[in-house]
Subunit: 144 residues, 2 copies
């Protein structure tokens, strides 16, 4: 884990962020359920905290994303999701049926074939791969 949950306060400070109850709650919510959308994170954080406005959740998540504490993924057709695994360049598989997201390790380190042949003048900074398919759970309940 890249997230030392043992001391989230120090973690926030390390990123130059103020330590508030809201931020700690959101941080542990994101760490606790990776790939959760903002409203689920808000719900989880409220369980720790009692009350927390939706706007604050977005504010906190944006702050975290900006400094690189969490990563934001936005699969087509579903709201933005967040995860704390930011250190490596892994990718995601998304279930067409239930929208579940699963981490997929990059099979080939530096991703050789992710350099486009003709970039049309683009200065490429990052390649993002999304696999679409059916997750194990949905596949079980559908088949047979």
């Amino acid at each position: 884990m890249s997230l030392p949950t043992s001391d989230p306060t120090a973690l926030l400070r390390g990123y130059g962020l103020r330590v508030t109850a809201a931020r700690l709650a959101v941080l542990s919510a994101v760490a606790g359920q990776p790939h959760a959308p903002a409203d689920e994170i808000a719900t989880a954080a409220r369980e720790h905290l009692g009350a927390l406005s939706t706007a604050a959740v977005y504010e906190v998540l944006n702050a975290f994303t900006e400094v690189g504490l969490v990563r934001r993924i936005e699969p087509a057709g579903s709201p933005a999701r967040y995860e704390t695994r930011t250190a490596d360049n892994h990718h995601h598989a998304v279930c067409r049926q239930c929208g579940a997201v699963s981490d997929i390790d990059c099979a080939v380190g530096h991703a050789p074939c992710l350099e486009p042949s003709n970039a049309n003048g683009f200065v490429i900074e990052q390649a993002e791969v999304t696999w679409w398919g059916i997750c194990a759970t949905c596949n079980d309940s559908t088949s047979s």
Copy 2:
């Protein structure tokens, strides 16, 4: 080109779709400006047609997407965009600044490294690659 614009009527019929003025207008709008978001397509279609409701544009685009006549792409942070190039599995580069989308041909035919090493039980159907960067235009105006 996979789209014989010479006879769009026959094209629609071939896909089992009814031929209406709205559909012809939307089809030519999408073909005319690839990667345009729905509202630009609506504007372009209205120029041909005089009037066309937004709901109808979405209805038509969904119908087209369903039969595979157009492809829908949804880069994070921007509304859905549509293109008529559906035959090959090309990918897209998205400009972080202006949101422009550019086609990128798949460098390696069958995309060998796009098969995940551990699929976590997922049955993968399709890999989608998005490159994030700065387009030539934005790069020109920013640099120096």
